[in-house]
């Protein structure tokens, strides 16, 4: 990072710009990369979800636009952009516009927290895993505002359900995170990943000591994302489409983008905590062994690490879609009962087991 910063300073000096501009603009550059990556990932993810869901239900999925329907999402995005932005009568105009932004911007921020490789974790400080959980909860506020400002009973019910769900599921999530912190003795995500490295490939991953925690975290993650079987806030059969019923055009696109981006990040977060993040499950890096040039080999390792994060993340996303294809929606009271009566005790049990393991080893 320092080396890149130096290059950047040099470039600005050539254009006779003062240093403080470099100081202000340099952190924005990785952020732009992240934002661009986000759009690409979301476009791919929406297509992947539709395709995989189709395979699970013995269909073919989108196959009209482009080869194998690859451009379907792009066509959908263009359609959304061209649509009129309708603000219904009786809405709170300011909050109605604020809500999609509030749902979307935190998602951009948490992207920076995930360590994609050894060097590339933009927001890196000692307790950034806690920051993730805190910021990842902000979109819920956006959803609440969307429901409140829409002047529509279905939206309101959807958003209230979403908040109730978030409150119940945040707690086991934090307890499981705590168990990981106990295992890694650190709250920095990069340190957590590095703590999972061991002499044998993938044996040190935290899924093994904290398998129970992994399952609980996965369930809570699904609930946080408002996905099936916990998709009560968007239950089509009861609430039209929940909190975003009144939204159209660009504002709806923001909600949509936030939802899928959050899905990717949540899976990346789980992969980082439990599946060794950017560590290679082979135990070594292919580029390190094959490329003779030392500089290029080091560089290729970074890309390989990012590759492994993506592989693990997409494996988890596949599992989420699998769950969605299998399970029906829970009832409202089952949802909260499941969180308080099943997941919370399990997460505490997991914490106990992990503490015992840590004490013995």
């Amino acid at each position: 990072m320092d080396y890149l910063y130096f290059l950047y300073l040099e470039l600005l000096h050539k254009w006779n710009l003062p240093d403080y501009i470099a100081m202000v603009t340099f952190p924005i550059i990785p952020f732009c990369f992240v934002a661009a990556a986000l759009i690409v990932v979301v476009i791919f993810l929406v297509l992947a979800e539709r395709k995989i869901l189709a395979f699970f239900t013995q269909r073919k999925g989108p196959n009209r636009v482009g080869p194998w329907g690859l451009f379907q999402t792009i066509a959908d995005a263009i359609k959304l952009l061209c649509k009129e932005n309708i603000t219904p009568e009786g809405t709170d105009k300011f909050l109605f516009t604020l809500a999609p932004l509030l749902a979307f911007i935190p998602v951009l921020v948490v992207w920076g927290i995930i360590p994609f490789c050894n060097e590339f974790d933009i927001i890196s400080f000692s307790i950034n895993s806690l920051l993730f959980v805190v910021i990842a909860a902000i979109p819920i506020l956006g959803i609440l505002l969307a429901g409140y400002a829409s002047n529509n009973k279905y939206s309101l019910i959807g958003s209230v359900r979403s908040v109730a769900q978030a409150i119940s599921y945040e707690l086991p999530l934090i307890f499981v995170l705590l168990s990981i912190v106990v295992l890694a003795s650190s709250m920095n995500l990069k340190q957590i990943v590095l703590a999972q490295s061991s002499i044998y490939p993938f044996c040190g991953y935290f899924v093994f000591p904290a398998f129970l925690g992994f399952v609980v975290f996965f369930a809570c993650g699904i609930a946080e994302l408002n996905r099936c079987p916990f998709d009560l806030p968007e239950a089509e059969s009861e609430l039209v489409s929940g909190y975003n019923t009144e939204y159209s055009g660009m504002k709806f696109a923001f909600f949509f983008l936030a939802e899928y981006a959050m899905m990717f990040i949540m899976c990346a977060f789980i992969a980082t905590l439990f599946l060794g993040g950017f560590l290679s499950p082979l135990g070594f890096y292919v580029g390190e062994k094959l490329i003779p040039n030392e500089f290029l080999a080091n560089l290729s390792v970074y890309f390989e690490q990012a590759f492994w994060v993506f592989v693990k993340t997409f494996f988890l996303i596949f599992c989420m879609i699998w769950v969605r294809a299998t399970l029906p929606r829970l009832k409202s009271h089952q949802l909260t009962a499941f969180a308080w009566k099943v997941l919370l005790p399990l997460s505490l049990l997991n914490l106990l087991i992990v503490c015992l393991i840590k004490a013995v080893l």
């Binding site: 189709a54 395979f55 699970f56 239900t57 013995q58 269909r59 073919k60 196959n63 699998w322 769950v323 294809a325 299998t326 399970l327």
Partner: protein
């Protein structure tokens, strides 16, 4: 114990769904590929004027009143024949009664099911269309 049962069925359910990935998809890309029809499929009607004696049985057995309209006339030999014969597909329910009850086998059903049209009037099959259907679909086969 009950919870354990739930857990097991949860796992079995997931595996069952997973198996679907390896099965052949049931999707049919409709306008390009068409479904294979049974021989007894009941589609658009075809009509053989030579056989029809304008007896009116088909009109009587048709459950959808007013679908079949026959205008009968006598030819020079004193035999009845249908001067005009029409089947209104707007009303027809494709039950196949007319085909089954016609004593002379004058009505047949073809496999054509792509009947969508812009105007209602074209869905009323006049005698000429029915005849053409007969030559195109029944005799050719």
């Amino acid at each position: 114990m009950k919870n354990l049962k739930y857990l097991i069925s949860l796992i079995i359910g997931h595996l069952t769904v997973f198996k679907h990935i390896f099965k052949k998809p049931v999707t049919l890309e409709y306008p390009e590929k068409k479904i294979e029809l049974n021989d007894k499929f009941r589609g658009e009607h075809a009509f053989d004027v030579e056989k029809c004696t304008a007896c009116g049985t088909c009109q009587r057995v048709c459950p959808s009143f007013g679908t079949i309209e026959i205008e009968k006339e006598k030819d020079e030999n004193g035999k009845f024949y249908p001067k005009n014969y029409s089947i209104d597909l707007n009303k027809c329910i494709f039950c196949g009664n007319c085909v089954q009850y016609c004593p002379f086998g004058a009505i047949k059903m073809t496999q054509n099911y792509e009947l969508a049209d812009e105007k209602k009037s074209t869905l009323k099959l006049e005698i000429n269309t029915l005849k053409r259907n007969y030559f195109d679909n029944i005799i050719d086969k």
